[in-house]
């Protein structure tokens, strides 16, 4: 979780930002599995939730990469600090 947040703050490359978000999601997934084991009665909810979360993280990565690829085609650069045409 902390590594992900650090990555989001410190990095400027859009793909690295995407990775950082994936790290945050993975932290949550590990939480789910760990908590499911930790409870006295075995819970299947945690594992189910983590499967859902993995699938959704994958779709999110697909959409994000598509947008970033298009940004690279238009600007020849994926430095997010260079994206500053919209401001005010």
């Amino acid at each position: 979780m902390c590594v992900g947040i650090y990555g989001l703050i410190a990095k400027r490359n859009a793909i690295r930002l995407l990775f950082s978000v994936e790290i945050i999601i993975n932290a949550a997934i590990i939480n789910f599995v760990a908590f499911a084991r930790y409870h006295d009665t075995p819970l299947i909810t945690g594992q189910t939730f983590s499967l859902f979360a993995i699938a959704l993280a994958a779709t999110e990565a697909a959409v994000g990469l598509a947008i970033i690829v298009q940004a690279f085609r238009l600007n020849n650069d994926i430095d997010v600090l260079e994206l500053k045409k919209l401001r005010g």
Binding site: M1, I24, F32, F49, E60, Q70
Partner: protein, 482 residues
């Protein structure tokens, strides 16, 4: 009959198949896709209304994933109505764009996600619906692929949106760890018998979920993407983001906070009150200095989120807060949709969204200017229009709930906001123009006129919506005592 499921089936069947029609029908398929989209949205509206009228209040004993209640129906009515407006106006706005069929399909997927989010009472479904609502909007924001601004809007929106869903998921995972369940009813039961040393974790989880949802609600620390995305993306998509996804987020926020509030309502309520204050003040002050109408409307949308948040702040203290929240959600959705769509039409015809292109607009586009002017007056809260009544209820709810200073701040903010709304109207009606007369497309105009008619009618007959909102509030609070 289970309303949410039927509506979801209707919308999904069209959304999944519509990109395929090109293979079967060739060039003609675009018309079919458009009509099917409209038809499916209309059918789901009718289904929602008819089944809500015949809905009998029932005690749910089994933990469910979706709960079929009037609160969900009300919010999904709003979001589907806005999606309907957006898809009809997209006939003109998106004309000539390649992949137009996929556009309508994505609109429907967003509508499905929003509808699910309105009904969801399980954190698992809330998360899935949240993603289903967000992912199509990332693509829609960058829909003009060759437009650098549209792409920039999409990149910014995507990075913050992905972060928000990550943080929401983290918050949910902590909540699951504390209570051992993802169902909101079970969570509320196990939270009442919580040992005090777990309280910091609950607070951490609440803050995470607030941050995740807050990005969609456009409340202040999480508002950075709003102006950029609303300006860069196609204006019809900005309409959807501002008028619809935000409302679905509020529906979910009401359900989550109704569960968490009993635990530490004073602190949470105070924190939310401060956020509401900062949100409306910053939104209104930033809107004053904008040069482009979409940016101005974006900041005004942030400010309106601050007003809506008052409804959640006073949730533990008075019924009036939730009534005002529901009422203002409807009004704000219609007003914001009208304003954004009118701005979209002007952008389509003059290919500019700067405020200078609104000089003397009433002479070249009289109907559009009239609709825009009325919706701006409504957003400002001028008495005969619907925005006034709901703001009145929200502010009096703040006074009732012991947050008189919040109501005072709201009034001051309303006064500030009148300034920039009137500035646009002054430009449209007083200034001179050099543009020649512009033909206003018929379908687009009829949507605007219809929405404006709703604004006037609900403004003149405030009782109708107030009574509906009151019924919903009473039945919601009966199931979820706060």
């Amino acid at each position: 009959m289970d309303t949410p499921l039927v509506v979801l089936v209707v919308l999904t069947s069209v959304a999944v198949t519509s990109p395929l029609y090109e293979m079967i029908f060739g060039k003609k398929s675009l018309k079919y896709v458009q009509y099917l989209t409209i038809l499916s949205l209309l059918v789901s509206l009718i289904l929602l209304i008819s089944s809500t009228l015949s809905l009998t209040p029932q005690e749910s004993t089994v933990p469910h994933l979706l709960r079929n209640d009037t609160l969900g129906s009300f919010f999904s009515f709003i979001v589907i109505l806005v999606t309907l407006f957006v898809s009809i106006t997209s006939f003109d706005y998106m004309k000539g764009n390649p992949n137009e069929r996929v556009y309508y399909s994505l609109l429907l997927f967003t509508a499905i996600g929003m509808t699910m989010l309105c009904f969801a009472v399980d954190l698992l479904v809330i998360f899935v619906a949240f993603e289903l609502m967000s992912l199509p909007t990332f693509i829609l924001a960058g829909y003009n692929k060759q437009d650098k601004l549209s792409n920039e809007a999409a990149v910014k929106f995507f990075i913050l949106g992905a972060l928000s869903s990550g943080i929401l998921l983290y918050g949910i995972s902590i909540m699951f760890g504390i209570t051992g369940s993802t169902n909101l009813e079970v969570i509320s039961q196990s939270l009442t018998s919580l040992s005090p040393d777990m309280l910091p974790f609950v607070i951490f989880s609440t803050v995470s979920m607030l941050a995740g949802l807050g990005l969609k609600l456009s409340i202040v620390p999480f508002h950075m993407w709003i102006p950029d995305t609303y300006e860069g993306s196609p204006t019809t998509v900005s309409t959807l983001l501002s008028a619809a996804t935000k409302k679905a987020g509020f529906a979910s926020a009401i359900r989550i906070f109704a569960v968490i509030f009993p635990l530490f309502y004073f602190d949470l309520s105070l924190a939310l009150a401060i956020i509401a204050l900062v949100t409306m003040t910053l939104g209104n002050l930033a809107a004053l200095t904008q040069k482009s109408i979409t940016r101005m409307l974006a900041y005004s949308s942030i400010a309106q989120a601050g007003y809506l948040l008052i409804g959640i702040v006073v949730l533990p203290y008075t019924n009036l807060g939730l009534i005002g929240l529901l009422y203002h959600s409807f009004n704000h959705a219609i007003l914001q949709a009208t304003a954004f769509l009118a701005a979209g039409l002007v952008r389509l015809k003059t290919s500019s969204s700067s405020l200078d292109s609104y000089n003397g607009l009433s002479k070249v586009m009289p109907i559009t200017s009239f609709c825009l002017a009325l919706s701006l007056l409504g957003l400002a809260g001028i008495p005969p229009l619907n925005g006034f009544w709901s703001k009145l209820i929200l502010f009096s709810a703040a006074v009732d709930g012991g947050y008189a200073w919040l109501a005072l701040a709201g009034l001051v903010n309303t006064a500030i906001s009148v300034a920039y709304y009137l500035l646009v109207i002054k430009r449209m009606y007083m200034d001179e123009t050099s543009i020649k007369a512009i033909k206003e497309p018929l379908i687009f105009i009829s949507v605007l006129v219809f929405a404006t008619a709703i604004i006037i009618v609900t403004g003149l007959l405030p009782n109708v919506l107030y009574d509906i909102a009151e019924d919903i509030t009473i039945s919601f609070l009966a199931n979820n005592p706060v």
